[in-house]
Assembly symmetry: C2
Homo-oligomer: 623 residues x 2
């Protein structure tokens, strides 16, 4: 049924008429093609409105269909790596009606989420974890006597992360039912980088590269009388030649059967490869070529620009990924300015050149700019290496992804007290990307590591000031954390410094805060008018001045846009010699679900109104 | 001079007669061989007395010599991955006289340590970071106009860690002067595992595997009249065949020039390969075969047993890596017992089967046992996958190495609240391995992650009890942390439970502690006789009972064998509604240098005497 085009009906089917995903298997190829068109229209419509990942999803429409026509989800487990390319999969697995709520508060997630659907095999907001998860799921199923398959879809970008190799190394030897589908579009978020990308592209562009055996035989066949015996000699020999002819790709070296490359927009070809993979009952690697942005001309032409986007005008040609008016851009431009005068400054990104604002630096100083792939561990250790060689390295990274380099910060940088600067972007709430992407842990995990100083600027001017302080007036590891988006602050900026701002008016209650929410704290303080305010810019470690100020107060309220456990408020209270009478921490506990940043600020108590409520509550209590 | 054996003097030279490392270059091969014998005698003598890594160092004697004869340290940077195989390097670079102080308090480190010597290119107590560090150092040097080389020595074991691939992927494309020497002995700590190990062994055992080009040509040459034109056709063709013939190893796919494999105990052969590598001025991969334990019969026969050892009888055949009387063995046996009755229990290790006591489990349940290589990230994500498939996974890992999986615990396990058990071995001070191996951070970083429960048993009986509680009575991620070595406790064990032990006698001072040092706290309390004692077994999160007890006291003293920043004491103080009048935390700040565990306990205030001093100090203060 699946692979036979001739016996299929020609009547077009609509998504809404089908029982999904099971009835996909009953469709003809022409019906599937029609369905792909419908899905693409839906993707463009919803993403243009809600924001999200467009190009990668346009590239995986046929692949998603093929997977669901060949496999039986949820009995077969499907895992999408990084997962932002799983929209079609979501549409095909019971979430068509909710699809317009994509990335909205209480809506469906922009990433696979097992708690949202049994069809989402594993959580996947961070890259490169899929093969390792599949190893566990496949072995678990086998141990329970379940012979279904675990299917991974992983992009070539995710292959730049080391965890993918740890997974390959273990999957290849397992003999379990693991199918790894390489979704190869030559892109992660920026243009893909590294030696592997080049290697994969060779395979992609020259499929005959793999057919060495056939090529040799063809050449030998062309020499009738002598070729045949040589051919026989080669095939029967125990020599290395035979091994080399049968061992064509790195993935076979890792113990996989390799199939491909196939055209991922050709349904029939893709389904044939997947059906073969399924039939082998062992680790199989299927190489699928796709075009990012397929079917939407502006995205095909400029897929990077459409990678992760806010809502955009459907027919606009180049929706910007980051605005010039953003903390990221201010950081990027400031660093570029400083690097003109200081040749020691180097900058790295883990596949987020545009997202972190480093495109300015990259253009001006290509020799000192490094896009290392989705390899945060490498970026930190590499930066420590640069520091060893006398350079001044800056690694710009989203807070949520810096988590991946905890040991490298500790072992490779901190023990030897290397001077490296971490530009921690997207710190705090990040909005619609949800639980997996919140930048709420960096303060907690960085403060567990010795020799770390953390700055948390509240406006562009402070960011620039902190960057200079971090580079030239601070030792060891220096993190500067700043939020996603732009600076809308209106607080008094006459005293820009990298330490703290204190407004002491002899009240008995002190409000302490830092970062973006200082703006709201100023407003709340001004409205209530009976609290003093301490705003930290250098948030850790604490200067004696800060401790002295805090110890003057009977009542302390701490607003912290970050995790409570291990956050600055906890560190501060346990640094005091004299405890306040009342102490209230407003910070984050548990995981923060998708919603707009302003809603998240409100939900967790950081809107002006909520701050006022807290202040009144605490001061009432003491009265 | 280096490569010419004929013009060399035959007089043997002693290490003590040479200016090292520079005069190594003046020696003849026979002189070098004599030196190797002297070095091996010294290694066996010192390691048998001080403990340390014997087998790996016996395997790298000639390689170390060859490196220092071909390169110019410290102008050329030499980085040893993991670094426990760098003893000969240390002897050859100015540390001969101090070598008998190896791993002792104030002595030289068992790992490369840039703060100890300019010849140690990068810190390396944790595996797989070398290539990334080399990328940074090599590029830093190039940017400064320095054309010296950065030389990495990395074992095949370290190649199972994903960071090594992130490094390869970036090094291969760099065109910088990076030489990666694979020290291939088919072992990491346990017998090496995974698909890659098999691949490397194929190359190791069949060097002709690589000479495909030569093999083809030889076959063709054997057919005189016809072979030549075919050969020409192949060589001049643009076909895939040519590519395949020149692309023989994975490392070439990553952009390296590949040299080898060479016999790492043949000085001349090894030096020739290194000299060629040096001359190419681009990324080169040199494959060197060595024999772990070379030159000491018991270690050659049983290299695993001599990997990391305490001092041992020189002629004993099989010094045990872990004693049956250890927390590790008790854990391993208890888990094996439970797994007989529960087929869902699975166990993983990251190349530490013996060190973690999992050899018992591995033997009985090979289908449910997984040695994933030095791949802690994979182990955690894999465990979460197993949990997804309904299994009950336990990952046994040294505290210091668990740091490498911070993001996997958070993203792959915690967000979806997977039930996995982390058996955190070597928690607390670890003694002679020094700064890079201390198990002092796990509590701080694990408590930043939601859905984590931590137990810290103080004796074998509590460990067994906590393991059952973790598996069957606790949700989410459960860590059980226990120290290196054996249980010497004598405290009252009539109330074994997984919560807490409280001895309340209406004193105004409460001492709080957990883990191994509870034993000393009991003694200190009994001697001083005016404090109450609260011992936590479930150390996080806190039950209300615990908070209620603590809030009764005016004076609190917290003894914590772990980092102060983000530790249990800090969390506890900031969980109180009513603060004590006095609060004293005795915990660890900064990095702990090598010494015996008992000395480390004393230095940081956890010996009975030091605890008494603290108690008297605090109670005097309040009086």
């Amino acid at each position: 049924m699946i692979l036979n085009e001739t016996n299929s009906p020609k009547t077009p089917k609509k998504l809404s008429e089908l029982k999904l995903p099971s009835e996909l298997k009953t469709l003809s190829i022409p019906q599937c093609k029609e369905l792909c068109r419908e899905i693409r229209r839906l993707l463009i419509k919803v993403v243009s409105k809600n924001g999200g990942h467009l190009s990668s999803n346009l590239g995986t429409v046929e692949l998603s269909l093929a997977i669901h026509r060949v496999f039986e989800s949820p009995a077969d487990k499907i895992i999408w790596d990084v997962g932002h390319q799983s929209y079609t999969h979501k549409i095909l697995t019971g979430r068509l009606n909710k699809f317009s709520s994509l990335r909205k508060e209480n809506g469906i997630s922009g990433f696979p989420k097992p708690s949202e659907s049994v069809h989402d095999g594993f959580i996947s907001g961070h890259s490169s974890n899929s093969i390792s998860a599949a190893c566990g799921i496949a072995r678990g199923m086998k141990l329970r006597g379940d012979n279904h398959h675990t299917v991974v879809v992983i992009g070539d970008g995710a292959f730049t992360g080391g965890l993918a190799y740890e997974g390959l190394n273990n999957a290849g030897k397992s003999n379990d039912n693991i199918i790894v589908i390489l979704n190869h579009n030559d892109m992660s978020i920026s243009k893909n980088v590294g030696a592997l990308a080049k290697y994969l592209s060779t395979i992609r562009s020259k499929p005959e590269y793999l057919n060495t055996k056939k090529t040799v035989e063809k050449i030998l066949d062309s020499v009738p009388s002598v070729g045949a015996p040589i051919k026989k000699a080669i095939v029967t020999s125990k020599s290395a030649l035979k091994g080399a002819l049968y061992h064509s790709t790195m993935f076979e070296d890792f113990g996989f059967v390799y199939l491909g490359p196939v055209d991922g927009h050709n349904l029939l070809e893709t389904e044939r490869a997947l059906a073969t993979a399924k039939s082998l009952n062992k680790p199989v690697f299927v190489h699928v070529n796709t075009v990012k942005g397929k079917g939407y001309y502006p995205a095909e032409q400029n897929p990077g620009a459409f990678h992760g986007v806010s809502s955009f005008e459907l027919f606009a040609k180049n929706p910007e990924v980051i605005s010039d008016d953003s903390f990221s851009a201010v950081f990027g431009k400031e660093l570029t300015k400083l690097a003109k005068f200081d040749k020691k400054i180097c900058a790295s990104t883990a596949a987020m050149k545009y997202g972190t604002g480093l495109q300015y630096f990259a253009k001006q100083f290509p020799q000192r700019f490094f896009d290392v792939g989705i390899a945060e561990q490498h970026a930190v250790t590499f930066s420590s290496g640069l520091s060893s060689a006398g350079m001044l390295p800056v690694f710009a990274v989203y807070s949520s992804f810096l988590q991946r380099a905890y040991d490298q910060i500790l072992h490779d940088s901190s023990i030897d007290n290397k001077h490296i600067v971490l530009a921690v972007d997207r710190a705090g709430f990040v909005g619609e990307d949800g639980e997996t992407h919140q930048g709420l842990f960096d303060v907690s995990f960085l403060t567990t590591i010795p020799n770390v100083t953390i700055f948390s600027p509240s406006c562009y001017e402070e960011l620039s000031h902190c960057l200079v302080t971090a580079l030239y007036d601070t030792d060891g590891i220096v993190a500067i954390r700043y939020p996603k988006g732009n600076d809308t602050s209106s607080f008094d900026k006459s005293d820009i410094n990298a330490d703290f701002v204190y407004t002491g008016k002899n009240n008995s209650t002190l409000v302490i805060t830092y970062g973006r929410i200082y703006e709201n704290a100023v407003k709340a303080i001004n409205i209530t008018n009976y609290c003093d305010l301490l705003k930290l810019t250098k948030i850790y470690p604490f200067e004696n001045d800060v401790i002295d100020i805090v110890e003057q107060y009977d009542n302390i309220i701490f607003f912290e846009e970050g995790m409570q456990s291990g956050g600055i408020a906890e560190h501060l209270i346990s640094s005091l010699k004299h405890f306040p009478k009342n102490y209230k921490i407003v910070a984050v506990n548990g995981y923060v679900k998708q919603a707009s940043v302003s809603r998240q600020l409100e939900i967790y108590g950081f809107s002006v109104e909520k701050m006022i409520d807290t202040i009144i509550g605490v001061t009432d209590e003491k009265a």
